[in-house]
């Protein structure tokens, strides 16, 4: 897609993406929990998570999202 606020065209997370990845450092969160943790509105959390999953930084497990080893490496 042409513009991805959470992931740059070069595949690296933007500041908004990093904020979500940082919030996931403490463990898996639902989109609502992630919205509460970051202060981002739900529609931006849902769209951002799609981008982060697609870029391989985050994976979905049941109704929660967690860092992949690649995402974890980036925010540690």
């Amino acid at each position: 897609m042409i513009n991805m606020p959470c992931v740059s065209p070069d595949g690296k997370p933007t500041q908004m993406g990093i904020a979500k990845l940082n919030a996931l450092k403490s463990g898996p969160l639902t989109p609502k929990e992630l919205a509460d943790a970051t202060g981002h509105p739900m529609f931006r959390v849902r769209s951002g998570l799609r981008e982060l999953v697609s870029a391989g930084y985050v994976k979905q497990v049941d109704d929660k999202y967690e860092l992949t080893p690649h995402g974890n490496e980036l925010v540690q």
Partner: protein, 215 residues
């Protein structure tokens, strides 16, 4: 006769609205991303046009009030993302107003057609001024259409959101020119027995079918 295969389907009040995925100035968004919140999906004819600019300033001015009502804004026109970005930057630079909500770049008219936003007698290439108020279950609750030449009334849009949310919360209706704090209308009785009882239930009744109450 011209064979027009691009069927324009207008979603109707009470129906679940069509899903879409679209490029916006805040990334790629889906209609379903808004589930759980109210959404005002609105179209404008074109970027860098005078009436649309006044409307975007107006929508920005009510944005915080809408957020208090768990309501998001999502604009749309058939312009590109680059055009939207340039226009938003121009509005900030020249008018001092930040546009805080996303705007769909519907270049292929995919969303416009799904929502019946193009009225060929007005313009074959631009969307008219539509407002779709969608509830947290993605059901269409209000449709407003304005012609290209008439800017929308933001206070009326805010008033409709208030009225819909009041109806949902209190199971009442709202009379003409209602505004928050005014008496509301008790739904009319459905049987002769209920009609008989209605005037004895303590409401401010003009007659059995027209009763008001304060919330």
């Amino acid at each position: 006769m011209e064979n027009n295969t691009d069927e324009i389907r207008l979603p109707l009040i009470g129906e679940k609205v069509p899903e879409f995925e679209a490029a916006t100035i805040q990334g790629t968004l889906r209609l379903s991303d808004y589930e759980g919140s109210w959404l005002i999906l609105f179209s404008h004819p074109a970027d860098f046009t005078p009436v649309c600019t006044t409307e975007f300033i107006g929508f920005s001015e009510i944005y915080e009030e809408l957020k208090k009502r768990n309501t998001e804004l999502l604009g749309l026109s058939v312009d590109s993302v680059s055009s939207h970005i340039a226009w938003v930057r121009n509005v900030k630079e020249k008018m001092g107003v930040t546009i805080p909500f996303p705007i769909i770049a519907d270049l292929n008219k995919e969303v416009s057609k799904k929502y019946g936003m193009i009225h060929p007698s007005q313009s074959k290439t631009e969307t008219v001024r539509c407002v779709f108020i969608i509830d947290p279950e993605s059901k269409l609750r209000t449709i407003l259409y304005y012609p290209l030449t008439t800017g929308r009334n933001m206070q009326e849009i805010l008033r409709i959101v208030d009225a819909l949310q009041t109806t949902d919360k209190h199971k009442v209706a709202t009379p003409a020119n209602w505004k928050p704090g005014d008496p509301v209308v008790v739904p009319p009785p459905g049987t002769t027995e209920q009609a008989e009882e209605r005037t004895k239930e303590g409401y401010d009744c003009k007659d059995w079918y027209l009763c008001f109450k304060k919330l």
